[in-house]
Symmetry: C2
């Protein structure tokens, strides 16, 4: 049995605010954040994330942006990859920010982030 590995990600101290905001300033990535907010690990299957209208490579791109910004971590276990939110790291780096963002996303739902994800009719 081999140890699980992590895909490359910035150290907590290197997480940059502007880079995080840029990562979250996209409706698909905001939707991913809301999926990851439960703290659980998620597979990379677009269907399980409610993004089955997007190409898998598009979803992978968005996941990479989040990981490289320091928002998420990706655990590699064999051929599977599991993504989760770096809540502890983000709370340590930017106290209060993640909670404010998640609360704001809730306030914005309907007219905002939730409705902004393009879904084919």
């Amino acid at each position: 049995m081999t140890d699980d590995e992590r895909l490359p990600q910035p150290a907590t101290a290197d997480i940059d605010l502007v880079t995080v905001l840029h990562a979250l300033g996209d409706p698909v990535r905001m939707r991913l954040l809301l999926s990851y907010a439960d703290g659980a690990e998620h597979s990379c299957d677009p269907r399980s994330l409610g993004l089955d209208h997007l190409h898998k490579s598009t979803v992978s791109h968005h996941m990479r942006v989040l990981r490289e910004a320091g928002v998420t971590t990706t655990r590699v276990a064999g051929r599977n990859r599991f993504v989760s939110l770096r809540r502890t790291d983000l709370d340590a780096r930017f106290p209060g920010l993640l909670d404010a963002l998640l609360a704001s996303a809730g306030a914005s739902a309907g007219a905002g982030a939730g409705a902004a994800v393009p879904v084919p009719a």
Copy 2:
């Protein structure tokens, strides 16, 4: 004497979280936010904003992105324009978010937003 006018801006209820994060996910615009955080009105002169290394049209573009996202308001008085932060509107729309962002920008200074603005040697 004519009344002052405002350049077009979204109503408070129409300020969208993802659009705000996209607006602030840029080092120049984050620097503008920090300048506007004092609550005062600011002229559009790049020099007064510490952005004299950027072309005036570039600074104008960034100001427009902030205004159209609902982050700032621009008052037109004759030939002069004055920009200020929509703190009350942002606090009403997304309680706690602006304070968390400004505190995070402070935490990120040095390695983050502050140092990320390109300045010629």
